[in-house]
């Protein structure tokens, strides 16, 4: 019992630190990547080639004066960024990071918890995330913040629907399990889910962009119309939490995309490689290689997110709603019908 608790505590702390570190360096990488796309150098003064820039940014955020507006609802004003940060981090608890490790006679899953409703849990946490923005925006008592919050929540509610339907199609074609661990293991031999769900992947990816409020869907913080959107009144580390949670969201969304559609820690010819290297099942090295592969996939998706942000202009609000309700929703329903037909002929569905 004690060993189990220590192992779970270590997993939680490990994943938490991983999320924070990944998000911190995503901020640097975003600026470097933007600089690359715009033929600039990017931050290069702090540390070696700018490597200490995230720490400098963090210190700056902490040192700034904290202003809470007099007319705001003080407790909710503080609660907003906290909820947003918590929901961003707890999504990571169902992602399987690597193959189970065997130490002694015990098998340790490298996943915080393998609940059998993992996929719906992801949707649930995503729908709770909206509260952080809404509470923060309303408690600021500022019309721009309120408009930003309303935009954010309507956008998130709208895009959750095609996302959910795309997930149903994915679950049908991946064997009917809602557990992320089983979905990943199902992609161990054979093709990744992406091969059977290309349209579903596209829909899920667009919805993930919208759910994380990344450009071209960053209307909640559209500075040309709304000053700063829902975080107009925030300063110091509370603003930092909002900005930082967005990067954590991006990291976790990439991890979910890699896990659901691209095989997670699996990669082609993995078993042949392990045989060549002479590694037995449950070896630490297998887990490390798998973890490295997963991180590489996540990094690829993070780059894609950034590439899109620095390439595409922002949507207009009616275009955003039209895309969500009139394009993505029918498309995801079509994808669901198509999946059922394809799976019937593949022999995975029986009537």
């Amino acid at each position: 019992m004690t060993a189990f608790l220590i192992y779970k505590a270590l997993m939680c702390i490990g994943v938490f630190i991983l999320c924070l570190a990944a998000a911190a360096y995503s901020t640097l990488w975003e600026r470097k990547f933007a600089a690359f796309l715009q033929d600039r150098k990017g931050p290069s003064r702090a540390g070696w080639g700018g490597l200490l820039q995230p720490i400098a940014d963090g210190v700056k955020m902490f040192m700034k004066e904290e202003i809470i507006p007099n007319v705001s609802n003080r407790s909710l004003f503080i609660l907003g960024p906290c909820i947003f940060m918590i929901t961003a981090v707890i999504t990571s608890s169902v992602i399987p990071w690597a193959k189970p490790v065997m130490i002694g006679s015990h098998v340790y899953d490298l996943q915080i918890t393998d609940i059998n409703i993992g996929v719906i849990y992801l949707l649930g946490v995503a729908s709770i995330g909206v509260y952080g923005i809404m509470i923060g925006g309303w408690a600021s008592n500022n019309k721009f913040a309120l408009l930003g919050a309303v935009r954010a929540s309507s956008q998130m509610i709208s895009y959750e629907i095609p996302m959910g339907i795309a997930l149903i199609a994915l679950i049908i074609s991946s064997g009917g399990s809602l557990s992320l661990k089983e979905i990943v293991e199902g992609q161990d031999a054979g093709f990744a889910n992406f091969v059977w769900q290309p349209l579903g992947f596209l829909i899920f990816f667009i919805c993930a962009l919208a759910e994380t409020n990344r450009a071209p869907f960053d209307l909640p913080e559209c500075e040309t119309e709304l000053v700063g959107g829902y975080h107009t009144e925030y300063s110091s580390m509370k603003l930092g939490l909002y900005l930082f949670a967005e990067y954590i969201n991006m990291f976790i969304s990439s991890a979910v995309l890699a896990t659901l559609y691209f095989g997670g820690y699996n990669f082609p010819f993995a078993h042949e490689l392990y045989e060549k290297l002479g590694l037995a099942d449950g070896s630490v090295w297998i887990s490390l290689i798998g973890f490295g592969v997963l991180i590489a996939k996540i990094f690829g998706f993070v780059c894609l997110f950034m590439w899109i942000r620095w390439t595409l202009p922002r949507f207009r609000y009616d275009q955003l709603m039209n895309l969500g309700w009139k394009t993505l929703l029918p498309l995801s329903l079509f994808n669901l019908a198509l999946t059922v037909v394809v799976e019937f002929f593949r022999g995975n569905i029986h009537f």
């Binding site: 909206v130 509260y131 309120l146």
Partner: protein, 179 residues
């Protein structure tokens, strides 16, 4: 721990929190706080579902109630800008009658629940019925007809909502011709 299992401790804590938050929904003056306390109550109830091994129900409860319906509630209340100052003051007679009605309801509830502790609980079916797989099997075989009826009801509600929300095209065309 004190002769109780962890499950019993969790049940006690969750029940206390659920009742406390439910009371706070009624007693807080600020409507936005009320809505937020209601969300917390829903979370406590979802915790109860988890204790009963009904994970699917728990998470769907959170997705549908806390994640969708309460967000819309919050939406409306935030946009209507209700405050403690704008709350209408009720007439003293209304309060008096409300007190009596509430007291009588409490009396009826207490009377109805008297002797409930003597009822023997019987568990029917397996304790794993709350898992997605078992639930789906039961829904799509044994209870298929009620399930389909419920889906038609939802569809009718959906169509109704769209009809109410739809802009009246006749009025619009008249306006455009006038201007």
């Amino acid at each position: 721990m004190l002769g109780y299992t962890i499950t019993q401790w969790l049940f006690g804590i969750l029940s206390f929190l659920a009742i406390m938050f439910a009371l706070m929904v009624v007693f807080t003056r600020n409507p936005v706080n009320s809505v937020l306390y209601l969300v917390l109550t829903f979370f406590c109830i979802a915790g109860h579902y988890l204790l009963l091994n009904a994970q699917f129900l728990a998470i769907v409860h959170i997705v549908v109630y806390a994640g969708a319906i309460m967000v819309l509630f919050l939406f409306i209340i935030m946009l209507m800008n209700l405050d403690a100052d704008t709350e209408p003051q009720k007439h003293i007679g209304t309060r008096f009658i409300a007190g009596i009605v509430g007291g009588v309801l409490l009396f009826v509830m207490v009377g109805a629940l008297r002797g409930a502790e003597q009822i023997q609980l019987v568990q029917t079916g397996s304790s794993q019925i709350g898992l997605v797989k078992n639930l789906g099997k039961v829904l799509f075989s044994e209870f298929l007809f009620p399930f389909e009826i419920a889906s038609i009801l939802l569809l009718a509600a959906l169509v109704g909502a769209i009809m109410i929300g739809k802009r009246d095209t006749n009025i619009n065309s008249k306006e455009t011709t006038n201007s």
